[in-house]
């Protein structure tokens, strides 16, 4: 059995909105090709946490971060680190599907590639194709690639957003409640997709749905009021939590 290699190491992470501390000293390791779920009551800092992993937190005015996030041995908060390059390695899928307005399905996926300097039509087509296949959307859109991305259904739009993120082959994908705006069938498809994706990428996903966390994740972190209460193998956290607060939360006694 091969041992897990750590891809993402979060050390003493603190996040602020102006002077309010919303993440209090969080440390955890994420192993390569795993799905890590973040659970916790509303407002506990899950979104803030994953937004720290691609340096999106600092895009909010007055927000800042302390601590280290080490991706492949490099601290993404080192003074020399470039957020733009980091975000190409750490992709993000949002709660609300957000295809770019007025942009075709093809261009939505191709934009990131064009950004990397890929101009050749055949290469673009090949990569757009493989990303859409990977995101389990190809069969539904192969004949309508020129239509605007916004013309798709909500579930299709979310898979388009996943394809768009996959196109530039990030090593980590962050997902903030990616299925909370979707119907059960679309949700199931995206869950299958995530299980499939971890063969090649590492996923950190926020979810309010504990069944979802137990279905798709390898490890689960429970956050409460900006603190990491427990970080465990998912099977263990949901059956035999070591902290009483975790048990209270997963049995629905608060939050």
């Amino acid at each position: 059995m091969k041992t897990d290699t750590v891809l993402l190491q979060i050390k003493n992470l603190k996040a602020y909105f102006s002077s309010t501390l919303v993440l209090k000293d969080i440390s955890l390791d994420v192993s390569t090709n795993k799905v890590v779920a973040l659970i916790g009551p509303s407002g506990c800092g899950k979104s803030t946490f994953i937004r720290c992993l691609n340096r999106m937190h600092e895009e909010t005015p007055e927000a800042h971060v302390q601590g280290e996030v080490i991706l492949n041995k490099q601290n993404i908060y080192a003074p020399s680190a470039d957020p733009v390059l980091i975000r190409r390695k750490v992709g993000m899928v949002f709660q609300k599907p957000n295809p770019f307005p007025g942009m075709s399905i093809f261009d939505n996926v191709a934009l990131g590639l064009r950004l990397l300097g890929i101009r050749k039509r055949s290469v673009l087509e090949e990569k757009v194709h493989s990303s859409l296949v990977q995101a389990a959307l190809w069969n539904e859109v192969k004949n309508i690639l020129k239509r605007p991305g916004t013309s798709l259904s909500g579930g299709q739009q979310q898979r388009l957003c996943i394809a768009r993120t996959l196109a530039t082959t990030p090593s980590v994908i962050l997902m903030d409640e990616p299925t909370s705006a979707l119907d059960p069938v679309s949700t199931m498809r995206i869950e299958e997709l995530i299980r499939h994706l971890v063969q090649t990428v590492t996923v950190v996903i926020v979810t309010h749905n504990m069944q979802q966390a137990s279905r798709i994740s390898d490890n689960t972190a429970f956050l409460l009021n900006g603190e990491l209460v427990e970080y465990e193998k998912t099977s263990r956290l949901f059956t035999n939590p070591s902290d009483p607060r975790t048990e209270q939360y997963i049995t629905g006694r608060f939050g």
Partner: protein, 287 residues
């Protein structure tokens, strides 16, 4: 008695409603009167003077009659064109800055200045350019273009800013999350996504400056002939209309009416274009 059968009060209510509708319809028709009257009047007075010569010839001396406003049309096109060439990128740049870098101090100062500039009467802009440029270099197409550019700037900036603000924040974040630098998000996502609306704003600004008269009186002045270069006094349609309308000569007055007709048709066409662009854009968005 059936519990749905109307009481006398209900009859009264129904008739009152019809009565109010009638009054509203009447008022709407009255509101149309000025527009119809103006159009009718200008078409009636200006139509006869329209010929090919009107668009190419220069005004003939009043005694001879005939002639055209070719020099004024060309002058307007050149001056509005030059003003747009400078004013559109400048205004859009300012609008983008105000919308996309709102936290910056420079952005706040810029917004304040632009808001002030919007309220400055156009004749004041004319006087300003007169003192800044005309006193030193004389009346010219350049000076006229500069004045129109200053009038256009806040209009374009404001409309650009408002349109970009319609794009939800998470769209920008999606772009940033793909590893696009902020300027790329603007160029590759925000501008293409709002393209038709941005054009609409620009076209309306062009239509607005095309009819400006007061600032041109102080800057490009006028010219009985085709201007030979950009640093000469240059005639423009609105100024020419103004001059001819008060000239007291029948022939020139008739030219002025035709000029007014051309100006109105131009502004009307511009509005029509804008509306059809918006209509098509909406349909495309809904598809």
């Amino acid at each position: 008695m059936n519990y749905l059968s109307p009481t006398p009060r209900d009859f009264y209510r129904k008739y009152f409603s019809h009565f109010m509708m009638g009054i509203l319809a009447l008022l709407s028709c009255i509101a149309l009167v000025p527009f119809i009257a103006i159009s009718f009047f200008i078409i009636q007075k200006g139509w006869d003077g329209l010929s090919l010569g009107f668009f190419t010839e220069i005004p003939a001396p009043p005694a001879e009659g005939g002639g055209g406003m070719g020099n004024a049309l060309l002058g307007s096109a050149v001056i509005v064109g030059m003003a747009s060439l400078l004013g559109i990128p400048w205004g859009m740049g300012a609008g983008i800055f105000m919308s996309e870098y709102p936290g910056q101090k420079l952005g706040r100062i810029l917004r304040f200045t632009i808001d002030l500039l919007t309220t400055v009467p156009s004749i004041v802009v004319g006087i300003f350019i007169y003192h800044l440029v005309v006193i030193h270099y004389g009346f010219s197409a350049f000076a006229g273009a500069l004045a129109l550019c200053v009038i256009m700037l806040p209009i374009v900036a404001k409309s650009t800013e408002e349109i970009l603000r319609l794009v939800p924040q998470h769209i920008r974040e999606a772009g940033l999350a793909l590893g696009l630098p902020r300027w790329r998000v603007i160029i590759n996502i925000l501008i293409p996504g709002t393209y038709s609306m941005l054009i609409t704003g620009v076209i309306l600004a062009i239509a607005r400056i095309a009819g400006e008269t007061a600032p041109l009186l102080f800057t490009s002045l006028g010219n009985q002939f085709y201007a030979q270069n950009l640093s000469e006094p240059t005639s423009t349609l609105p100024v020419q209309i103004y001059e001819f309308a008060k000239s007291g000569f029948k022939e020139l007055e008739s030219l002025a009416w035709s000029g007014a007709l051309v100006l109105i048709v131009f502004v009307f066409l511009v509005n029509l274009t804008v509306r059809s662009i918006l209509f098509l854009y909406k349909r495309r968005m809904e598809k």
